[in-house]
């Protein structure tokens, strides 16, 4: 295991060296962009790790929640922190059964080595549970038990976008940290720093445009920056930023909604299947991005659109066949668009 990891990091062609978003991912809590209050609080907690509570990180996408959790694990557990950290993504590991099994397995190892009894050793292991708001309330209720059962040896860092979608009993067991959306200055400054380090030229306006498109999502911004830089021999222009933005899954969702509204039902259906099967987009994310895109791009009939999206968001949760629900959603968009097309 270790040897392959070394190989990855050494190789120029490795994913983590290739992608700027990984290359410039902060390694220390101090480097996190603009979450000063959180950095301060965490630094205080670090002084007395034995008293560290479970933590809940809430905030929009791409502001550094996961990175902060990883940095914290690194700083608390030392160089081989990866061996004592379990990363779970609730969006991938559907169902509580999977989470329970993985956690149980992970907690069982610690009992064997008896780390908690030796003062010189690490105080606990860390479980990072990402996208926890994807879990149903039943699954969250079960998670509450898991947190209690393993709390002697394990600390949870639970990460979510919306705090309101985490059940109260879990909130009350955790110290809650709210991450702020990054503002334009933060993003622009950070992107320019990367450009300098990578010796990339840029149009001032192009960098500003990246922020306009990504709404404070730094992760997305860096990917757009790198893609745009690659398109024109290391020169970031407005046009390149435009085409780079068009590549994202979110833009593809916007296209699909547009096709459906224009009555091109079959084309929209094929693109939907491609997005879900090839690009692995979850059906829930599809509706989430559909909402964001139609809002940001000022689609006509936004009120009616929202009503349909709300209805199908609900149906998606309670229904059995996600494909039937989303295709039904596209068909309703076709009907809505028909009045317009007359």
């Amino acid at each position: 295991m270790k040897s392959t990891k070394l190989k990855e990091d050494e190789s120029v062609n490795s994913y983590t060296n290739l992608m700027w978003v990984e290359k410039y991912r902060p390694k220390k809590i101090e480097q996190i962009v603009n979450q000063k209050d959180i950095i301060k609080a965490l630094n205080n907690l670090k002084k007395n790790p034995n008293e560290m509570p479970h933590m809940l990180f809430a905030g929009p996408a791409g502001v550094g929640k996961t990175t902060t959790a990883l940095c914290l694990a690194n700083e608390l557990l030392g160089d081989d922190w990866r061996n004592d950290t379990l990363e779970l993504n609730a969006s991938d590991e559907r169902g509580i059964k999977m989470v329970r099994e993985r956690v149980k397995e992970f907690a069982a190892v610690i009992k064997l080595t008896g780390i908690s009894e030796n003062n010189n050793e690490k105080p606990f292991r860390i479980i990072i549970l990402d996208e926890a708001d994807e879990m149903t309330s039943e699954a969250q209720t079960a998670l509450r038990r898991i947190i209690e059962d393993s709390s002697k040896t394990t600390r949870f860092i639970i990460i979510c976008n919306y705090l309101s979608q985490i059940i109260e009993p879990i909130q009350s067991r955790c110290a809650v940290f709210r991450f702020k959306r990054l503002d334009k200055e933060n993003i622009v400054e950070h992107l320019k720093t990367i450009c300098k380090l990578e010796k990339i030229q840029f149009e001032e306006e192009a960098i500003a445009q990246i922020f306009d498109f990504t709404y404070g999502d730094l992760r997305h911004s860096i990917n757009v920056l790198q893609t745009a830089a690659g398109m024109n021999m290391g020169h970031v222009t407005k046009d390149n930023v435009n085409s780079a933005i068009g590549l994202s899954g979110k833009s593809k969702v916007g296209e699909i909604v547009r096709l459906a509204l224009d009555g091109k039902f079959n084309d929209s259906r094929i693109k939907l299947m491609e997005l879900i099967h090839v690009y692995g987009m979850s059906e829930k994310d599809f509706l989430k991005y559909a909402f964001q895109e139609t809002f940001n791009k000022k689609f006509e009939k936004f009120g009616e659109l929202s009503e349909i999206m709300a209805e199908y968001d609900y149906r998606l949760v309670v229904g059995a066949h996600p494909e039937i629900q989303l295709v039904a959603f596209l068909a309703q968009l076709g009907k809505l668009g028909k009045d317009e097309r007359k």
């Binding site: 392959t4 190989k7 990855e8 190789s11 062609n13 490795s14 994913y15 983590t16 290739l18 992608m19 978003v21 996408a61 996961t66 990175t67 990363e87 993504n89 969006s91 991938d92 559907r94 990402d130 999502d217 992760r219 997305h220 990917n223 790198q226 893609t227 690659g230 398109m231 780079a244 590549l247 994202s248 899954g249 979110k250 009555g263 039902f265 079959n266 259906r269 094929i270 491609e274 099967h277 090839v278 690009y279 692995g280 987009m281 979850s282 994310d285 199908y312 149906r315 229904g319 059995a320 066949h321 494909e323 039937i324 629900q325 295709v327 039904a328 068909a331 309703q332 076709g334 028909k338």
Partner: protein, 414 residues
């Protein structure tokens, strides 16, 4: 009453006269043909076991003719005690040809050998047929204790009852030939009662056409393809309901994981894939999809609450609302939600990229869905524009070189 219908009994009229006319039991019949065509002196006799009316006797008759054998047939109507058997069989075995033709000995209905009258019959057969000099085939309905000793010297071949689907297809063929029609519920009753027996099937349907109404005693199910095809082409709601009720399919929740076969037998999904592929007006389509989506909510609720009793309403809902909207719209059954020439490559790409997605979403500390939306399309572009050696890149990830053309194809699609 139209007596001309009896000018010939259908069970005789449609008795197969050629190998290719038989229904069902293909593997079994191929085995018998192989046995006969490679038969050498001393080869084990065959013992055919199977219910009545599925063509055991007819098949032996037909192959003996086709392979140019002289068929010597003894059945339960012949008295078969050991003396009689010996007096008939011994000369046959000794003179392997009576008329210069090769002979094939067929002992039919050997489970009918009666203990008293056929005293010693079974033991005698076992002794006599140890090293036969001509091909010998025996047949019985069931493998009972009495004929068990024969299995020591014979190869047992089991015939299965002809499946309901096959009987359904065959009966429809005969009815078409005869220019007759049966109501769907009569059709089901007959298929149900005939119980794997083609002869009985034909007799019952001929009787039904003459006015005799069989009783329903068991439930009968169609394969989902047959059931849904008929659902869509039904004339009335009750007819459409009949096919839904009697389909070999169910309402399942794919979120709990399904095998491909279970997925195929998903009634709601089957109706969805058929409707979505049809050429209906977009407004009707959006109404239908809204209904299917509502039914899907019901299926989802059943799945999460385990209240299976709710399922019984779903057939009625579909037959009442969906059927009345799609009646006469020319919808046909379709197993897949889109043309396989489009869906196939999508599934293939998804399968090929699976491992890459797992590794890279892990390295990116994010979900697969987020990786697919906000990393993967950019990565493809970066791999191309930063002139990355894809083989090297895959090597650092411990991934197979096979992925190279897959990634290159994805890049070219951008």
């Amino acid at each position: 009453m139209n007596w001309s219908a009896f000018t010939m009994m259908w069970s005789e009229k449609y008795r197969p006269t050629k190998i290719e006319q038989f229904l069902g039991n293909e593997d079994v019949r191929i085995n018998i043909l192989k046995w006969l065509s490679t038969w050498t002196s001393g080869a084990k006799p065959l013992l055919l076991i199977g219910p009545p009316g599925i063509g055991k006797t007819s098949f032996v008759t037909v192959i003996s003719k086709q392979f140019n054998y002289d068929l010597i047939e003894l059945n339960a109507s012949d008295s078969r005690n050991s003396n009689l058997l010996e007096s008939i069989i011994t000369p046959i075995l000794n003179n392997s040809s009576l008329y210069g033709k090769r002979s094939l000995l067929f002992l039919d209905e050997i489970d009918g050998l009666s203990g008293r009258d056929d005293s010693g019959g079974v033991d005698f057969l076992v002794k006599l047929l140890k090293n036969p000099t001509i091909p010998v085939i025996m047949a019985a309905n069931i493998l009972n204790l009495k004929i068990k000793p024969i299995t020591k010297i014979a190869r047992v071949i089991n015939f299965l009852p002809v499946s309901k689907q096959l009987r359904f297809v065959f009966l429809n063929y005969v009815l078409k030939q005869e220019n007759h029609k049966l109501e769907n519920d009569d059709l089901i009753k007959i298929i149900n009662q005939s119980n794997g027996d083609i002869r009985l099937l034909l007799n019952l349907s001929q009787a039904c056409i003459l006015g005799y109404n069989p009783e329903m005693d068991q439930t009968f199910t169609f394969d989902i393809a047959v059931a849904l095809s008929n659902f869509f082409s039904s004339k009335t709601i009750s007819e459409s309901l009949l096919f839904l009720n009697n389909s070999e399919a169910s309402y399942v929740d794919p979120r709990f994981g399904l095998s491909p076969e279970e997925r195929r037998k998903d009634k709601l999904y089957g109706i969805y894939t058929s409707i979505i592929n049809s050429n209906i007006h977009e407004l009707l389509l959006s109404d239908l999809m809204d209904l299917l989506s509502k039914v899907d909510i019901l299926v989802g609720k059943v799945g999460s609450t385990r209240k299976w009793s709710i399922l019984k309403y779903i057939d009625n809902i579909l037959a009442t609302y969906i059927f009345s909207l799609i009646k006469n719209k020319g919808i046909t059954y379709n197993q897949y939600s889109m043309n396989w020439s489009i869906l196939g490559p999508i599934i293939f790409r998804s399968q090929s990229l699976k491992e890459l997605f797992t590794k890279l979403s892990y390295l990116s500390h994010t979900s697969k869905s987020t990786f697919g939306s906000f990393y993967f399309p950019y990565l493809l572009n970066i791999l191309q524009n930063f002139d990355i050696d894809i083989s090297e890149f895959l090597k650092t990830l411990d991934l197979d070189e096979k992925l190279k053309p897959v990634l290159e194809k994805e890049i070219s699609k951008m």
